[in-house]
Amino acid sequence: MSLIVKKVAQLITGFVFLYGIYIIVHGHLTPGGGFAGGAILAGAYILQILAFGRDPLHLKKKETGSSVSESVAIFLVLMMAVAGFFIGAKVFFNNYLPTGKIGELVSAGAIPLYNVLIGIEVAAALLTIFLALIIYKEEIEE
């Protein structure tokens, strides 16, 4: 890619990433949440890869990392649901944390935590799909 693209991608990626995090942590207050924010986070990674990375070996290493973090994130979501069973009312997905005041950032109990984990999961999953496609393309060209 040309210098202009690389520089602009460098400048923008940080903002995109921050915006994704903003969407995720405000999931219980504003529209959006884990899924939408996770897609934006994946977008930040994909922008970087499109602007800089074309080295398939390096990408394969990244793919391993992203697929592991995907599995771990969704497993943690399940474990939080099971934790709800052991803490409090013996029901899965029980919201056991104090719920706080409506409208504040730290409120709604366990829901923001689910949002964060789902954000990581979606970002990792979309990134894994993208990497799988791009690695496949590199292998075809060789």
Binding site: V68, V72, F75, L78, K90, F92
Partner: protein, 507 residues
């Protein structure tokens, strides 16, 4: 609220997500944890089957507000217990079989992860008391099965998987569309709640339209005859353990189960709908068996015979529905429905066994073409004997279970004066015998032309085939009325007494 039924969904889901992580460190983890998990689910579901309590469960503890259920409900009644049992038992035997079979493929971990995901989805469909969550779990299990069908990544596998995906997505679209229509009219997604609202709702064109959409959508998933095009390709190209799961369990858990559940417990079915379902069942019974005669690919023959046997199951339910809708004797309807539940259990056992046998042949000879095979009974005695048992069972030879379930369906049809249906069922049973004799002769008897020095399959594979053939013989005891009452009558009751299901979901 101390119920543990969500474990049926949580355990397989958790295992499915752990496998890709720990599987990177050691190869043995996935192979051992999957059968162990399914064994636990087996014990759990069998204990549930033999005790009488039925329960519902509210996920997240969201209690109903003003008598409107807002949470996600999981409902466990007699019918879902029976299907859960089928899923875990067949799943367990198939996973034992896979230990040897899948080792010839690369990326075994992905196989086991997808397998667990499919089990989780099917358990979710069976337990869900909420029509939208039913759809979500259905998608989980079919997406896992799309990937599993394409697992061999050859040309045929990819083509079959693509065909399956296209038709499966059409079905999913129809189902989602009808769910949206129902939500629009009733303002709720809970099955029991919809059933209550539809009681006061006068039957309209809208309702008929929704019912037809649902029959089409789930008919595509269950591969009833006009919607069967994907099944012969998908079931024959998948790896054999997957074919056994798809044919033995998946088309029942996400096709037949949902049709029966929705039409018995959610809609108050009319006589017209009962006739439509019976006609579809009869058509798939006849055409499926006629198409199977001329197949020379072992797994394609088995796939077409699956369509035919699903036809028997649907026919039994259809006869029951027709009797109930006309206000006939309830004992006859009970007989027809229990016959077809019995056939459902039997079909999953013997069709699973037949596909595993076909897999064993393919494992040793690398071909599925009957013209090249022959005389394998000397080289592979265990595979030959178990396949013979399953073939006799599916074509209805007396000591085996298939005979009794077909007999019950036919007796019910005769007593309810559907003589034509009873006659057709007998004829199809004879055709079934014909093409399974052809299968036996072409593969295990006759002259051994090409494969003189092959050996019996490894222990893990023959073990699960032996257990299944014992089940084939053992399930015949369900024909004895006092035993049938313990196992099948709970399921029949929960279908016939509509109020029982609705009362189970307390709100």
């Amino acid at each position: 609220m101390n119920s543990l039924i969500p474990l049926f969904i949580i355990i397989p889901l958790a295992i499915a997500f752990i496998i890709p992580v720990i599987g990177k460190l050691t190869n043995y983890f996935a192979k051992t944890i999957t059968p162990i998990m399914l064994l636990i689910l087996c014990f759990f579901s069998v204990t549930l089957l033999f005790n009488n309590n039925q329960e519902s469960y509210i996920v997240g503890g969201w209690q109903p507000v003003d008598n409107i259920p807002i949470g996600i409900y999981l409902v466990l009644d007699g019918f879902s217990k029976l299907i859960l049992c089928i899923i875990s038992v067949i799943g367990f035997l198939v996973s034992i079989y896979s230990i040897s079979y899948i080792s010839k493929y690369t990326s075994e971990n992905n196989f086991y992860a997808l397998f667990c995901l499919m089990i989780a989805g099917m358990n979710g469909v069976v337990l869900s008391g909420d029509i939208f969550n039913l759809f979500v779990f259905l998608e989980i299990s079919v997406i896992a099965s799309y990937a599993l069908v394409a697992f061999g990544v050859g040309k045929n596998e990819l083509e079959a998987s693509f065909k399956y995906q296209v038709l499966g997505n059409i079905a999913s679209f129809l189902i989602l569309f009808s769910i949206a229509l129902l939500y629009w009219q009733t303002k709720t997604l809970n099955i029991a709640d919809i059933s209550n609202i539809l009681k006061t709702h006068d039957s309209s064109a809208f309702l008929t339209f929704t019912q037809i959409l649902l029959i089409t959508g789930f008919g595509l998933k269950a591969a009833i005859i006009p919607f069967h095009a994907w099944l012969p390709d998908a079931h024959s190209s998948a790896p054999s353990p997957v074919s056994a799961m798809l044919s033995g369990v998946l088309i029942k858990a996400i096709g037949v189960y949902v049709i029966v559940r929705l039409f018995f417990n959610m809609f108050a079915f009319t006589y017209e709908i009962a006739v439509v379902i019976t006609v579809l069942g009869t058509l798939s019974m006849i055409i499926g068996s006629l198409l199977a005669i001329n197949q020379w690919d072992i797994k394609r023959l088995l796939a077409y015979s699956s369509i035919s046997q699903i036809g028997y199951i649907i026919l039994g339910f259809g006869i029951g529905m027709m009797i109930l809708a006309k206000g006939g004797k309830e004992s006859l309807a009970v007989l027809a429905i229990s016959g077809s539940l019995f056939h459902m259990v039997n079909h999953s056992v013997f069709k699973g066994l037949l596909f595993l046998g076909a897999g064993a042949i393919e494992y040793r000879t690398n071909t599925r073409d009957m013209n090249q095979l022959g005389g394998l009974s000397e080289n592979m005695p265990i595979t030959s004997t178990t396949s013979l048992g399953a073939s006799m069972s599916i074509s209805g030879i007396p000591p085996f279970n298939g005979f009794f379930s077909k007999l019950i369906i036919i007796i019910a049809a005769v007593q309810a004066k559907f003589y034509l249906l009873a006659f057709l069922a007998v004829i199809v049973s004879i055709i079934t015998l014909a093409y399974f004799l052809k299968f036996q002769k072409a593969v295990f008897y006759g002259k051994n032309k090409n494969f003189k020095d092959i050996k019996e399959v490894p222990f893990a594979m023959s073990l699960s085939m032996i257990v299944l053939v014992i089940l084939c013989l053992g399930l015949s005891v369900l024909a004895i009325p006092s035993i049938r009452e313990v196992v099948l009558d709970q399921a029949v009751n929960s279908l016939i007494n509509v109020d029982e299901y609705v009362n189970l979901v307390k709100y």
